[in-house]
């Protein structure tokens, strides 16, 4: 029995479900406890012990059926031609599956093992020829191997995950899609780095101002007593409870369709740079479908990522963008597991191509969000024309802003981050911050009009210092 289980576990691993040795031991123990008379019971036992994720369950069932069907004794009294038909049908099913999964397990014999050895060789040949068609020639073995590593992990496989491991794989499928060739020059990247780091510098100054107060909470009685044992309980040293300090969390949904590509590419660059600063940002891109690119932003050179996006490898760019569908998909797949009231930024022109608006989803997102900001590259006077839904969507947002340049963008994001920090601060800090900011306003304006070249911090900050 141990051997069968070991082989079954191997089959599961092959199809991407992660099973640890401990779990297979559990399975053996479970089977020996409950017996193996009934097939359905054994299936349940194995599923309980080997599968630890809802998303893996259908896959498990499939592997189970395939694996244990060859031990069925009553093959002899079934008409061979029926069996053939069934095999061909399931083979076709498998084939479709292959197409979807981008060549995940096409080196497996698949349901062929269902057949007895006495079918005639021509049929077999025909069947085999079906498997030989590679669904995607350009994805070689390498990707298959990588996909396998990822299939079993905590989340359902996302097509873009594979890039995270090795950006080189992008080079492998250059054949697909049209190349629009949007990349960033080193100067642009450096400029963005510059803008962002100066933005962070200014923000950090604000943060430092409130940090001390933010950390402190009520008296921690037990710790205070502990600390003052040695002083005979006279509380010389006071221990205060620490407040949970939240990192500002940001969720960004970025439209990458053709109509806004000039704006979204800068948004992506900004995101990429923000990721390198210590901020908790989750980024999604969408056109008609939505995909998370958080990890790719962290792990990939930004130009490679841009290429991947432009080629439509992550989300299909040939479709018309549909905000309604994207919101619905986002709600289904991600909304539940967003933590800690993040601030939402949505970048897009809200041109829905006359699809269903689904604006009620935004209402739900609103409940989870601390703040919602819609950025559009379009001027206000074109908002009413055509299929633009920004007035509908905008009514759910705290703010709708027009951004046209990098400076607009960074100014808006900075304002937002500042608001998030201020939100968490004590009222007294908030007041102080506001005063400080008002005093500095002129400096900032000047700062931006001077452009990206040169320029340093406003040297002296009288409002902040005069208080101390």
């Amino acid at each position: 029995m141990e051997r069968i289980i070991a082989r079954f576990v191997a089959a599961l691993r092959e199809s991407g479900i992660r099973v640890s040795p401990g779990e297979s031991l559990d399975a053996v123990q479970a089977l020996s406890l409950a017996g193996m008379e009934k097939r359905s019971l054994s299936r349940q036992l194995l599923r309980l012990t080997l599968v630890k994720n809802v998303n893996d369950m259908p896959l498990f069932d499939e592997v189970f059926t395939r694996f244990f069907s060859r031990f069925q004794p009553d093959v002899s009294d079934i008409d061979i031609s029926d069996l053939m038909n069934a095999a061909i049908i399931s083979m076709e099913g498998e084939f479709n599956y292959l197409n979807q999964q981008q060549g995940d397990d096409h080196d497996e014999p698949g349901p062929l093992i269902k057949l007895d050895s006495d079918i005639n060789p021509e049929d077999l040949q025909e069947l085999k020829s079906l498997t030989e068609i590679d669904p995607d020639e350009s994805d070689g073995k390498e990707i298959v191997v990588q996909m396998k590593g990822y299939r079993g992990k905590a989340k359902a496989p996302r097509p873009m995950r594979r890039y995270v491991q090795n950006p080189l794989t992008i080079e492998l499928n250059k054949s697909t899609g049209t190349d629009r060739g949007i990349t960033f020059s080193p100067e642009e990247q450096a400029a963005m780095q510059d803008v962002v780091s100066r933005m962070m510098l200014r923000l950090r100054k604000d943060m430092r101002r409130m940090k001390n107060n933010q950390n402190r909470g009520k008296l921690h009685v037990i710790k205070t007593i502990q600390k003052n044992y040695r002083h005979d309980m006279v509380p010389f040293q006071v221990a205060l409870r620490r407040k949970r300090r939240e990192k500002p969390r940001l969720v960004v949904l970025c439209d990458v369709s053709f109509s806004v590509s000039h704006a979204s590419r800068f948004m992506l660059l900004l995101l990429h740079t923000l990721h390198n600063q210590h901020l908790d940002v989750r980024s999604f891109i969408f056109n008609r479908e939505v995909a998370e690119i958080t990890e790719m932003l962290i792990n990939m050179p930004v130009n490679d990522l841009m290429q991947a996006i432009d080629k439509g490898d992550i989300v299909d760019l040939d479709e018309n963008s549909s905000f309604g569908q994207v919101f619905l998909a986002f709600k289904k797949r991600y909304l539940e597991n967003l933590r800690g009231r993040p601030a939402f930024i949505i970048l897009g022109d809200a041109r829905n191509n006359y699809d269903e608006a689904n604006d009620w989803v935004l209402d739900e997102i609103r409940e989870k969000a601390r703040y919602m900001l819609w950025l559009t590259p379009e001027e206000r006077d074109t908002w009413k024309r055509g299929d633009c839904l920004i007035e509908t969507y905008g009514s759910y947002c705290d703010k709708v802003e027009v951004v046209k340049t990098v400076d607009d963008l960074s100014l808006v994001v900075e304002e937002l981050l500042r608001d998030i920090y201020a939100d968490q601060a004590e009222p007294i800090d908030r007041k102080r911050l506001r005063e400080a900011r008002e005093a500095e306003t002129y400096d900032y304006q000047d700062y931006y009009t001077r452009g990206t070249g040169g320029g340093g911090e406003p040297a002296f900050d009288p409002s902040g210092r005069s208080r101390w």
Binding site: A34, L48, K52, V54, N337
Partner: protein, 305 residues
Amino acid sequence: MITEQGVKDLLNTGGYIADDAIATAVFLAIRMEKPILIEGPPGVGKTGLAKALSAALDFPLVRLQCYEGIDEGKALYDWEYGKQLLYTQLLRTQLDTYLSVSADLREAVERLSAEESLFFSKNFLVQRPILRSFLSEKRSLLLIDEIDRSDDEFEALLLECLSDFQVSIPELGVIEAEKKPLTILTSNGTRMISDALRRRCLYLYIGYPELEREVAIVRAKFPDICEDLARQMVDFLRKARELNLRKPPSVSETLDWAQVLSILNATQLTPAVVANTVGVIAKHQTDLQKVTELAMQELSVPWNG
């Protein structure tokens, strides 16, 4: 010797209608002494299973409700500082006499440190739920509810407890469970539970029940609701679940509704009945509307199923 059919019957008599997967999971958990991790949408009876089991098996229920920021002081154990202080004050005179026999300071310190363990003993240990269930004289049922609400750190803290059924206390050493409790963890899936924790548990997914089982659940809880009405109710709710509602009605809503209908002495579902009681099954304003519309569509013709 208990079998999975035995578990099922036991639960059935306790009023919890289990399907095969649930019964098998419970059976395995009892025999293999492994925790079960239950996931599923809210209100399908995850916590209910634990309660029913505790009643049916006569295991005392120890419940730990997780929340963001829960730590070992709330879940495992804590030292009772107040009591320790009080004891040192009260024992001061005794300590004086006890130490006065010693010849010099060095000896006094040695004598005192020999008794150090007094102050970090089980006398001064406050047992929190997990430790309490480990040390309970009878085998208990430990319910760790909504584990997905806790932080990652807390999850890591649970690993030792769940795999070896022991708690390490630096001052006392390792305390092992007297009787390994039957452990049930529930999660609503608002956050991914780490693989390390999953690996230590049996994994059970409870989804919405099939028609027959849900009817059986309603009938078991409210015997005065006739079979026809129960079937019609469940049928309607199953359709409502497919409506893309913000909060789809779950089994707990089914039961609430059954109770309401039995109080109202309803015998058949009509759009009017649904409209009057819709607040029980739909919990958002937009949902209310959708459900009422569904009732208009589905129930205007008299039902004959």
